[in-house]
Amino acid sequence: MMQSQFDFGLAAPEIILTVMGMVILILDALSSGARRTLAYVLSLVTLAVLAGVSYWQWHIGLVGETFFGMYIADPLAHLLKMASYLAVALTLAYGREYMQTRDMLRGGEFYVLVLFALLGQMVMISAGNFLTIYLGLELMSLALYALVAIRRDHAQSTEAAMKYFVLGALASGFMLYGMSMLYGATGNLDLRNIADAVNSGQIDYLPLTFGVVFLVAGLAFKLGAVPFHMWVPDVYQGSPTAVTLVLAAAPKLAAFAITLRILVVGLGDLTADWQPMLLILAFLSLAIGNLTAIMQTNFKRMLAYSTISHMGFILLGLASGSLDGDKQFDTESYGSALFYMLTYVLTTLATFGLIMLMSREGHECEDISDLKGLNRRSPWMAALLLLLMCSLAGLPPLVGFDAKLLILQTLLKSDRLWLAVVAVLFSLIGAFYYLRVIKVMYFDEPEAAAPAMATVWWVPRSLIILNGLAVLVLGLMPNGLLVLCLQAMRATLAF
């Protein structure tokens, strides 16, 4: 389906978000109030509208590219965007009270920055050209740098923001350098043209592989894979928890999208070159992530290392494609990675959401020991966190198990039995630190008699319960989401 070169309808979600972001910015400047209700409600309404638009686009099977191939709309983009809206909406809902009680809602910039970060992610998700990828990446990153630093007078936050900024800029530099290498080698910025050029076999191999190395390094930075993971624990720990959740959820989806588009769509013929790199990153992430997480006493920092190990699993999925371009095989491998990413983000949302709900004014629920005796104080929250920890540990019947199973399956299909065994052994090590959280909640006696929950409005409360239950229900019935992932991946690869 070939549209005119300027089909604005395809990019409707981005256009709506841009306009609404600016409207909210202006309206917020005119309003006052500690809770910034106007900006909050408008943000949620915007997200709902976007979800409607993306759903409609996906529903009528809208597929196409516009702006000379710079912007792609395909089922993968629709799916990832809808997941991002959900992630952002939940983040706002969980984080509002947290931000307000910590005096971080003096202006509505929290909402505006989150929306612009989302815009950057959407551009990344739909990018078909190195320029759009970079544009989206920088738009997202700049908003996120500001968000991490939103607690201006807090030393740890400021430190985290500096680290994030410096390392993020370095990563962007890596990416840009890799892109320029590829541009030099192929004379193209468009991913599909690059694919054609590489396929023609007339390109000098050396600058190509050089470019791939830098691109992979940059992508690994964004995903937070070892050895480019150093920023993850510090930033996760140092940011206000609401911001940690902004960082931990939706940006991963966008990073996944550009990884897939650059490596699989653009450089599919170089799979044999980048696959071993991803495997090394995956192995190191599994090892360092899981082993280091054991040592952590800070809950957020532990979750940061756990994220690193989960990225290792996703990279295993991304590194399991076929070398000869077998579409069916690729669909299943990359589809598994997509499933893993979506379900991981869902689990992360609920986990950090719970941390926020359990933090009271003047008392951050940050150390694992803060969870002591949670079962006595608030049995339902403990049960919810139990489900989430079991899911992260990959225990059935929770969704984390299905996700891990899919990845292991792709490993076996690509004849990497030993890697499957390694992945399984690291999951065993990983189980230890998740179990420790359960142990603290259930086996230890509470230190304070205070209730576990701050007085939170019923909406975020019920949302988090639904979110936690989704982890269980999806674990029992993963078929629907799995089919969606496979369909989206099939369309993207065939496109």
Partner: protein, 499 residues
Amino acid sequence: MTSEMASFTTPWLTFAIFVPIVCGLLILAVGSDERPALTRNLSLISALLSFFVTIPLYTGFDNTTAAMQFVVEKPWIPAFAVMYHLGVDGISLWFVLLTAFITIIVVLAGWEVITSRIAQYMAAFLILSGLMIGVFVALDGLLFYIFFEATLIPMYIIVGVWGGPNRVYAAFKFFLYTLMGSLLTLVAFLYLWNEAGGSFDIQTWHDLPLAYTPQVFIFFAFLAAFAVKVPMWPVHTWLPDAHVEAPTGGSVVLAAIMLKLGAYGFLRLSLPIVPDASVAMSGIIITLSLIAVIYIGMVAIVQDDMKKLVAYSSVAHMGFVTLGFFIFNTAGVEGAIVQMVSHGFVSAAMFLCIGVLYDRMHSRQISDYGGVINTMPRFVTFFVFFSMANAGLPATSGFVGEFMVIMGAVQFNFWIGLLAATALILGASYSLWMVKRVAFGDVANDHVRDLKDLSNREFFILGIMALAVLYMGIHPKPFTDVMHTSVEALLQHVSNSKL
């Protein structure tokens, strides 16, 4: 006729799994420490209901066929070819009933003893019961694995929350040991899935041709999971820890059912899927089993802690079970299954007896007791009876299984039979010596002097168990009749090489 009609239409197996699970969730929702009576009664009703839905499985069971019965087969994750596929045969039937029965006992045993977080305690056992039944009836590899592994979570909580002083260590050890084994099995399952062209169906795997080398790898992957669970020497060390620290109900379920999950895995998966490797590696298993029977039997003798003693005796008894499986004759396999059921009753009863003492004295040390018969005559009657059954006294269920396995072993190789038979001597030594030190002699101290005899509730529980042990010892035919056809079919299957 009507019951047969019903058995084809009513999904009894689904009920057997999900009635306890749903009831457990319900109790979590409505029960609380403020309303203990309601919580307890509700739990008992749930446990009874869960047991009653398993009875049609027995009454409607057809002894004459080895085929799976009460089959339920529905697509579950179609994208993945995972089926919700359940069925029972003569091998698994008794374990379904045993599990549901033991759950009633556990609920009764925790009646007055558990006073904190009652609802969670009862719910954990009910959910666990449903999950364990799921393991016994799952005919889809992934479904089996999911049930197998999901049992870890409630047991971890049970040991960790209601356990003794060293409960955290025991809970972690239990969890990580068993998880390590089962994760390797998962890889083996995925390998089989791949080889079978994308099928998780266990019966398809049974007929899947496999070369020798993969068979050996799969065999050891299965062994990793099942040997830990059984547990076989030398990976048994988690069991004494878990038993000692677990609350009485936890020990009962652990000994009576959880250990059987591993043994059942050998029968349902190892033997039929990798028959050639099983035959080739049987020497290893037989050796390990004999070590468990003899060496662990000796270790049991010198224990000072009653629970540890019974835990080690469990390892020794399970050695008989694995021995019976890997001598590949009818007497051996049937004896092993009978031994599994019998051990389910006897070890459960032993832990209940120790629980009775522990609730009064808060000590498991044998040296803290002595002359209990003077103050608790009714209790000691049961205690001596179950100890005799534990030692394999004729006319108790303990005798039947051990006798059949020894008989099978003698058919297989006289010397193996002879070594296995020493278990009867060792069993008598550790059981009776413990009884002597605990129950007989002079009253050892003031605490023993103040002991109260069994309450009606305790008398009732131990009485039921005693009846079951006696009935199975005197009239084992209903038990062996049910399993005979299935065992024959299994042995026939194993004797056909897949190479």
